[in-house]
Amino acid sequence: MTAESEQKSDQVISIENLSLTFQTSDAPVHALADIDLQVEQGAFVSLIGPSGCGKTTLLRVIADLETPTSGAISVNGVTPHEARLQRAYGYVFQAASLYPWRNIAKNVALPLEIMSLPKAERERRIKANLELVDLAGFEKKYPWQLSGGMQQRASIARALAVEPALLLMDEPFGALDEIVRDHLNEQLLQLWAKTSKTVVFVTHSIPEAVFLSTHIVVMSPRPGRIHEIIVNDLPAERTLDVRETPEFLQIANRVRAGLRASHSYDDIT
């Protein structure tokens, strides 16, 4: 992850000098200021920072759910808008956001129906992706009949069903309890290793960021900006035990130091 522009062809996401200001009734809010970020093919990038640092906003800009005020951004070499129309990415929200009137299979089928894929292809992708997230056999269940962890896995399957090369995840495990979260972290890592997708992952958990990522982007609030980018050189094959190793703790400490330096606690309201 460097800003060297000669490697542009490899960059899935390229952001230069990007700013976003929200106009509110009392004062403009600088949600993002001077963001520069390059994400390579196959990277697992975590955006971490305190609330209000713009990490979710940045993800939404990449997904074309927000429009930046200034600066340049390209996704897969085109604008985020074009990328969205090409269905170039899968997006996983904080909550599973499954439709309660559709069963699990139908929920995974939703984006495929919108893309007007033929039925056989839809069936294939539903089956493959539910298997990938360990939900085979739950096709006919409705979301409210599943646990929170299973719902979130189903929503990941739904994002993967689009078969995107890029996966955008916005605190997908934030609402889950620690044990389920650990389990899903491990599964996500295996999935990433298997499929070699590029992942941009928003979190506010340091262990999660360090455990999952190849790169950790530490952000700071007011205005939202990138404080530091930490390259995680832990071996790619990781199990949960890696969290006990000194190397892991060392990186975690660097992230924590970065977070601490990036803002003082005084100005938290």
């Binding site: 759910l65 269905r87 997006y91 909550a95 956001s97 439709y99 009137w101 939703l110 129906e113 919108i114």
Partner: protein, 385 residues
């Protein structure tokens, strides 16, 4: 709770005792019924004294309860039978007037009936189907008790027909005028209500979809629609009669106007009910307007739309019936009600009201059933409410 039951037991006991003593001069049947009522109410009293609320679920208490409920059921049913039987005797020519004993027995049986409901309401079964059966049985018992009391009092006290006919008289009139009732039902419900309802709900829904793309119009129409929903729209009935004539189209027109606004307002609110995350999700799929509408926003709006359909089912009947007060050909539920009231044929009015009640609740029930099938996923349906 307990003091209420104590009082009821006391009333039942004292009344039964009086009926027993006074009934000795009237006939054996009243005495037997009074004796049984006395026995049952005393058992209730003992059970009340025995019951320790702290371990209300022990098997002893269960047994006790079952016995009390069985005895109460028997006492009430037998007592009611005796009362009805006795009524028939009183109405024959050369019989004594219903006296003190009779009314005491009525009071006693009434108290026993209430106690039965109290005891049944105590059953707190964890099994779903038992609870569902109780959920039907208790209100039905209550309704039957009320009918019984109505029947006994109107006949025993010789309440004038004009004031309040007895249920049996209403039922008789109902049976004798089936063809008239059917013709009225056809005119008012099958024509005015159903056609007006379909047109009103349909147009409200379509207009809501049409203005869906204009947030400006929505912001303007929502408060106006809400306000209009609260206005006495039935008042347009005389105007509609002038415009569309005496027959059912004018009634259907009133129904159209009455049902239009609730549907419009609810559909607009329902279409706005999807949350940001769901809309963002559709956006990440680059879904077009119609995909978004049919796959997300309409299903999400379904509970709102059904709410309007349910409100409108009642409004439609009211609209059609009241509109008939302003002029009709000589058929229709509202016409029948207003003319029979004029002729003091109150039993026919009650029969017509019974038709309206059954039609109204069946109509509502049907829509509620469809709602349960289509919005099975909604929390309010899932929780079984």
């Amino acid at each position: 709770m307990k003091s209420l039951r104590g009082a009821l037991v006391l009333i039942a006991t004292v009344a039964a005792a009086i009926a027993l003593i006074a009934g000795l001069w009237i006939g054996p049947l009243i005495s037997v019924a009074a004796f049984i009522a006395l026995f049952v109410s005393c058992q209730c009293g003992f059970s009340l004294l025995r019951t320790d609320p702290m371990d209300a679920n022990s098997s002893v208490v269960w047994q006790d309860r079952a016995i009390v409920i069985a005895m109460l059921s028997f006492g009430t049913v037998f007592g009611s039978y005796v009362l009805l039987h006795q009524l028939g005797i009183f109405e024959s020519a050369d019989s004594p007037e219903p006296g003190f004993a009779f009314y005491s027995l009525v009071v006693s049986i009434w108290a026993l009936g209430w106690l039965l409901v109290e005891w049944l309401a105590d059953i707190d079964s964890r099994r779903g189907f038992v609870r569902r059966i109780l959920g039907v049985v208790i209100p039905v018992l209550f309704g039957a008790g009320l009918l019984m009391l109505w029947e006994v009092l109107t006949r025993a006290l010789d309440v004038p027909q004009v004031l309040l006919p007895s249920p049996s008289a209403i039922a008789e009139r109902f049976g004798n005028s089936l063809s008239v009732l059917w013709a009225d039902f056809k005119q008012t419900f099958l024509k005015a209500v159903l056609i007006g309802y379909a047109m009103g709900c349909g147009s409200g829904f379509l207009i809501a979809i049409l203005i869906d793309r204009s947030p400006f119009l929505q912001r303007g129409l929502l408060p106006v629609g809400n306000l209009v929903s609260a206005l006495p729209i039935v008042g347009i009935a005389p105007i509609m009669v002038m415009w569309f004539g005496f027959d059912w189209p004018s009634k259907a027109a009133v129904v159209v106007v009455m049902t239009f606004f609730p549907m419009l307002v609810n559909t607009i609110s329902g279409l706005a009910a999807s949350d940001h995350m769901q809309l963002d999700l559709m956006k990440t799929y680059a879904a077009n307007y119609w995909q978004n509408l049919f796959k997300l926003r309409l299903p999400q709006a379904a509970p709102f739309i059904f709410n309007a359909l349910k409100i409108n089912s009642t409004l439609a009947l009211i609209g059609a019936i009241v509109a008939e007060f302003f002029g009709t050909p000589i058929v229709g539920m509202g016409f029948r009600i207003s003319t029979e009231v004029g002729r003091m044929n109150v039993d026919m009015v009650w029969a017509e009201i019974a038709v309206a009640a059954v039609a109204g609740s069946c109509f509502y029930g049907l829509i509620a059933l469809i709602e349960r099938m289509l919005t099975f996923w909604h929390p309010s349906v899932r929780s079984g409410r």
